[in-house]
Symmetry: C2
Subunit: 330 residues, 2 copies
């Protein structure tokens, strides 16, 4: 059996088809009034002519199962907040509030406390308040130590701060911000191929990019034309920002050590279509803004660098990595 | 083994203790700026001096397992929306947007479509738009047909519309609005004691009370002093509205047929502390407002009636039901 994400039990194309049907099934008058944020990373609900509430929801997938297996539950909450908050900033919203849904077969105090402590730390890193949540004991749905977590985050964005992606153009620069590892995506594949002795490093919490990005929102003269949170689908996330363009990445960030292991088992193209490959966030700016963006991330102790540029090669992403280069198509 | 909610695997007191610890663990500067809505049914985040965003999250508990077991998934989404939207109105908020988190081991098209159709119908009933969601394939977390659902809803409330419960006083009237059955609470107990031949009636979807309540928000001269969504904890939900008061319910609504079955197996006090017993929503008003409230619900095809009044018997709720009466303590 090949080592692909689909073979690991997650059929991305089928899921995308379902999301298409879902949109059709749920479409109603009123949907046309929603604002369109770049990449659809958040739902943007206008509450006046000038201001909107941005909303995201996400989970952490099968990273949960590794955390349970290793009895290490104090950082999975950071992942949960990260997945929601990093999506909010992609549309230009400032994250404000977080709610969690925590369901388990039987509430075990020290597990529950560890999970909540992680969520609280994540909220601190994202500058959000944990304002509510639901803790559900659902006997017989989850097995022994298993549980599920969903997060819900809310932020505000004003009309003139909304990131639409519309003004991205060939020649714009792509700034990459380093990830801490695989973050919270691709675990159905990762836990299949990575030996259990190295699982602990898979659990490294997802980085939360909110603070430098929100600082950049407020800087005069700086415009972030597009922000891609590199989640499920890997570098294909860049294509979400605008149609009709492409990307040439010739100076990728170094890959965290876990990727040395993953490269032993999974083909390179599959890796870039599933994982972040060292780049947790990508930011598109015009040339003149690049230095300030990199400097701001550096000041917040993130590694950031110019990784490439936007091209006119519609739907094509070229990567020069290590000793090879390749093209990823949308 | 006795037929109580605790014996069925859900320890409400333990869960409440956890929520207490959770609040302590997550408490941060900024929490004091949140507005306090009656009963804590929703988190109310001010975005200006005059306006706030209200947020709720909830699931449908083990009602999911019955729906899976009976292969009837087209109404569980209504329950999900109901649990969130009915909570929002309790603080005076007008529901606007809904997001769902749907996690399953393996996406099966017709199950997924049925679930989403239910959510869309629920959103229509609540006057909300389904603006986003997360569909997660989490292999190995859920068994065969199992899945979990969490809902997140957002509404708006202005400062002068916020329901705080502060002005509730002895002598105020309690209006009860009929439920359709057990709604979405107490299923861990219900599915244990109700024979499988009658499970279909347990699945009757939760009523969504949004439209008449929002209409009442806008009526001049009408003030809803308190609204209790009767969920987990049954009639003890009334105590959430204000401390230092009690309730005398002498004219309860008729109990839907399913309760005839439940009464065979579960002691009466346990029933009232676990289920809604025919009253899905309770509204506290001053005497002069009662008729308009009842009329508005009736116009929307809900059964509503004067069921009792607020007393000065702190933490005591007396119920005259059928051939007996009893006191429920907070």
């Amino acid at each position: 059996m090949e080592n692909t994400y689909a073979a690991a039990g997650v059929d991305v194309l089928k899921a995308e088809a379902f999301v298409g049907r879902l949109k059709k099934l749920s479409r109603r008058p009123g949907h046309e009034r929603l604002w369109a944020g770049a990449g659809g990373y958040a739902s943007v609900v206008p509450i006046s002519e000038f201001q909107a509430v941005a909303l995201t929801t996400d989970g952490v997938g099968t990273k949960l199962l590794l955390a349970s297996e290793l009895d290490k539950l104090d950082t999975i909450g950071i992942d949960l907040v990260a997945m929601c908050a990093n999506d909010l900033i992609c549309v230009g919203a400032k994250p404000l509030s977080f709610l969690d849904y925590y369901a388990t077969s039987k509430l075990v105090d020290h597990y529950a406390d560890d999970i909540i402590k992680g969520i609280a730390i994540g909220c601190d890193q994202a500058g959000m308040l944990l304002v509510g949540g639901e803790t559900a004991e659902v006997p017989d749905l989850y097995q022994d130590k298993h549980f599920d977590l969903a997060g819900f985050s809310m932020g505000l964005v004003s009309k003139n701060e909304l990131i639409t992606g519309d003004d991205i153009e060939p020649g714009d620069l792509v700034i990459g911000v380093a990830s801490s590892g695989v973050h919270s995506n691709g675990f159905s594949l990762a836990r299949k191929v990575v030996p259990k002795s190295k699982w602990e490093s898979l659990l490294t919490p997802t980085l939360i990019y909110v603070k430098p990005v929100v600082e950049l929102f407020g800087k005069p003269g700086i415009k972030l034309k597009g922000i891609a949170h590199i989640t499920g689908g890997g570098w294909r996330n860049l294509f979400r920002l605008k149609t009709g363009i492409g990307f040439a990445i010739n100076n990728p960030l170094p890959e965290p050590e876990i990727y040395t292991e993953l490269r032993k088992h999974v083909a390179q193209e599959e890796l870039f279509k599933t994982f972040n490959m060292g780049m947790g966030l990508s930011i598109i700016v015009k040339k003149e803004n690049a230095a300030v963006v990199i400097e701001t991330f550096t000041n917040h102790n993130f590694q950031a660098q110019l990784v490439g540029q936007v091209t006119d090669q519609s739907g094509k992403l070229s990567v020069d990595c290590k000793d090879s280069s390749m093209i990823i198509s949308n």
